[in-house]
């Protein structure tokens, strides 16, 4: 496998304008094509902030460091350009878009990826959508529902993975996709991600979670521990098991910001 990272985060600091303190205080992270990395860490440690800065959320302001996607400066790109470049973030809290059906939304998203003047083949789209919904064990009627509007917590998470399965990213950032899923749904979603991974072995995953459980299904190459806006430890899957047993206490004591 290629050894140059698809994603290289170096010395990344970020904050929300108006708040003086940095949320991210120098994050270093390198993910090579095909690798699965997990990030665990206590509430408020900056995991979602990292995910959103990667995706280009306008509320966060990178103050130092860099993010490169295949050597390209990601921080210079608009959120849509990042998506076009292969980045996908499954939101911890997916947003409701009243009146816009999932099918319409995904059709527009796929159309946006085409060259100017090219028209998305609606038949192909329909087929892809149906196939992806089947993969995730979703009712076809779901595609006609407005995006996240009135969805249960689990439905919202599943909808995130449906979008991921349709858009086929090369870097998938999954922010607590497992939270709120029941045991069966967790299996279905994990299988879905693994299927995507089989289809495209080069797909890299950054998986944020609080629970070791999902890592039994989606097996990580590297597990990072994030505390106080920094990655304080990185290792193999055993790190997650240790955390499950011992919690974050030791890190908290060592790394007071």
């Amino acid at each position: 496998m290629d050894d140059t990272p698809i994603l290289a985060v170096t010395g990344l600091r970020a904050r929300v304008p108006g708040v003086d303190l940095d949320i991210l205080k120098g994050v270093d992270l390198a993910i090579r094509p095909g690798e699965i990395h997990a990030i665990m860490g206590p509430n408020g440690s900056g995991k979602s902030t990292l995910a959103k800065v990667i995706a280009g959320h306008p509320a966060y302001e990178p103050t130092d460091g860099s993010i490169d996607l295949r050597g390209e400066d990601l921080l210079e790109m608009e959120p849509d350009e990042r998506a076009q470049a292969g980045v996908f973030m499954a939101f911890q809290y997916p947003v409701e878009i009243p009146g816009v059906s999932i099918a319409n939304f995904l059709r527009t998203a796929l159309q946006a990826r085409l060259e100017n003047g090219d028209e998305l083949d609606l038949f192909d789209f329909q087929e892809l959508l149906m196939e992806r919904m089947e993969l995730l064990d979703m009712d076809v009627a779901f595609a006609q529902r407005p995006v996240n509007d009135g969805f249960s917590g689990g439905e919202k998470k599943r909808n995130e993975i449906l979008q991921m399965a349709v858009l086929k990213p090369s870097l998938a950032v999954m922010d607590e996709t497992d939270s709120g899923l029941d045991i069966d749904a967790l299996k279905i979603v994990s299988n879905g991600v693994n299927t995507l991974k089989r289809e495209n072995p080069e797909m890299s995953v950054l998986l944020i979670t609080h629970y070791q459980r999902i890592l039994d299904h989606i097996v990580p190459d590297v597990v990072h521990v994030m505390v106080g806006g920094r990655i304080v430890e990185s290792g193999g899957p055993e790190v997650a098991l240790e955390l499950e047993a011992r919690g974050y206490e030791e890190y908290r004591n060592v790394h007071v910001a």
Binding site: A55, G56, R82, A83, Q84, M89, I97, T108
Partner: protein, 448 residues
């Protein structure tokens, strides 16, 4: 002054009593009297001012210099229309799918009427209102500007009742149900003119009809007025849908007075779409006069640049056990203004009333302003009423969510706006209207 200017000056006809006489020259006596009485009401009624509640946000006297306008029909309201169908109107009509009948109005004159022959044979009447008033029996005399939009309603209803040049009369006999809509296609061509028209619809018991009233014009450099009075009667258990689609050009001022009277067990729905013009003011009064009557009232507006839309609605529950449900939704961009003022009045004795009223606005720019004034007046017990209003902005989280899937900012905005308006859009009639509204909104959003 040049020769040409003198000639056209002579054809100008300002808004005065002699215009009333001219407009009614060939009318039956009752109508001439009605016009003259209306003129008296007009002169006795002060111009609406922003000091009154109902006109507080629309300074109509300033926006519309009535004394500078000339009547669209010029010197001879009887002269037949000679020109070809205006290009813009022709294009709009081509976009329409099937219809049961069509009627075309250019500058306040009906120039064409077409009705499915089998419907005509079954007694459906679709005609020029002027002709109907002259040839018809007592029905028009009884219903025209009396119960629904009489001169006494206000300054503009009075002016309209005095000066209307033509309009539409539609009558659906008992039990006749039209599956396809009747379409009125209107065009205004002359800058600086005032056009007064009326629509009178009578749906007899158990009948059914859908009427689409579309109005268009080019852009005008000077204020140009269209005033229309719409009177709709739904008799027992009739089903009527009235759709107004206002897509006029800039400079146009569209003032509409609409009143619907829904009798026992009837359904009388209205839908007002405002997209064009510089000033749009709709006064809509839905009266539920029979038990079991039902009125859904939908509104949709999209303002940009300095467009000004003002909706003044009322739901009058006169009879018990009637239902009305109003939903007006609008998006405002540029420095556009949207005003919604609505009232539900539950009259004494109207127990079992079910009445709802919702106005929602989406603001797309810093300068755009929405004013929403919902109101309730309850004079009976045992009623279910609710009203609500919201003014919101584009949600930056929603935009980011969509952009993070690869949509450009403009596409994301378009999707959010369309989604917001979708609640009303999804209830627009098929066969042309949805497509026209979608196109118009998309071109406003800059994605033609």
């Amino acid at each position: 002054m040049s020769q040409v200017a003198v000639a056209s000056e002579r054809q100008r006809r300002t808004i005065d009593r002699s215009a009333v006489l001219k407009a009614g020259a060939a009318d039956p006596a009752w109508l001439r009297t009605r016009r003259e009485d209306a003129w008296d009401t007009y002169t006795a009624t002060p111009m609406p001012s922003t000091r009154s509640e109902e006109w507080r946000y629309t300074d109509v006297a300033r926006m519309l210099p009535l004394e500078e306008l000339t009547l669209a029909r010029g010197d001879d309201p009887e002269a037949p229309y000679g020109g070809a169908l205006p290009e813009g109107l022709r294009r709009a009509m081509e976009q329409d799918r099937d219809s049961a009948g069509r009627i075309v109005d250019v500058d306040g004159s009906i120039i064409a009427v077409e009705l499915d022959e089998t419907l005509a044979a079954r007694g459906v009447v679709l005609s020029s209102l002027r002709e109907a008033a002259r040839n018809g029996g007592g029905e028009i005399e009884a219903l025209l500007a009396t119960e629904a939009v009489p001169a006494s309603d206000g300054k503009f209803p009075a002016l309209n009742a005095a000066l209307w040049s033509d309009g539409v009369f539609l009558r659906i006999p008992r039990g006749v149900r039209l599956e396809r809509p009747i379409r009125l296609s209107r065009w205004v061509s002359r800058p600086g003119t005032a056009t007064f028209t009326r629509v009178l619809i009578v749906a007899e018991e158990l009948s059914q009809v859908s009427f689409v009233d579309e109005i268009l014009s080019p852009d005008f450099e000077v204020a140009t007025l269209v005033n229309t009075a719409v009177e709709i009667f739904a008799r027992g258990a009739a089903r009527v849908q009235y759709v107004s689609l206002q897509r006029m050009g800039r400079g146009a001022c569209y003032l509409a007075n609409q009143r619907t009277l829904a009798e026992r067990d009837s359904t009388l729905d209205t839908l007002n779409v405002a997209l064009g013009g510089s000033l749009g003011r709709v006064d809509l009064n839905a009266r539920l006069v029979g038990p079991g009557a039902n009125s859904d009232m939908l509104g949709l507006y999209f303002g940009d640049t300095d467009q000004h839309f003002d909706f003044n609605t009322s739901q009058d529950h006169v009879a018990p056990h009637a239902h009305s449900d109003l939903l007006y939704k609008g998006a405002l961009d540029g420095s556009a203004k949207g005003i919604f003022r609505g009232i539900i009045r539950v009259h004494e004795g109207a127990q079992g009333t079910d009445a709802y009223q919702t106005n929602r606005n989406l603001i797309l720019s810093e300068q755009a302003v929405a004013t929403s004034l919902p109101n309730l007046e309850i004079g009976a017990d045992d009623v279910r009423c609710s009203h609500g209003a919201t003014v919101g902005q584009l949600d930056p989280e929603a935009l980011f969510y969509l952009m993070s899937r690869g949509l450009k900012r403009g596409q994301a905005e378009r999707l959010v706006v369309m989604g917001f308006l979708g609640e009303v859009m999804s209830r627009l009639p098929m066969g042309g209207v949805v497509e026209k509204v979608t196109d118009a909104i998309e071109s406003k959003l800059g994605y033609v």
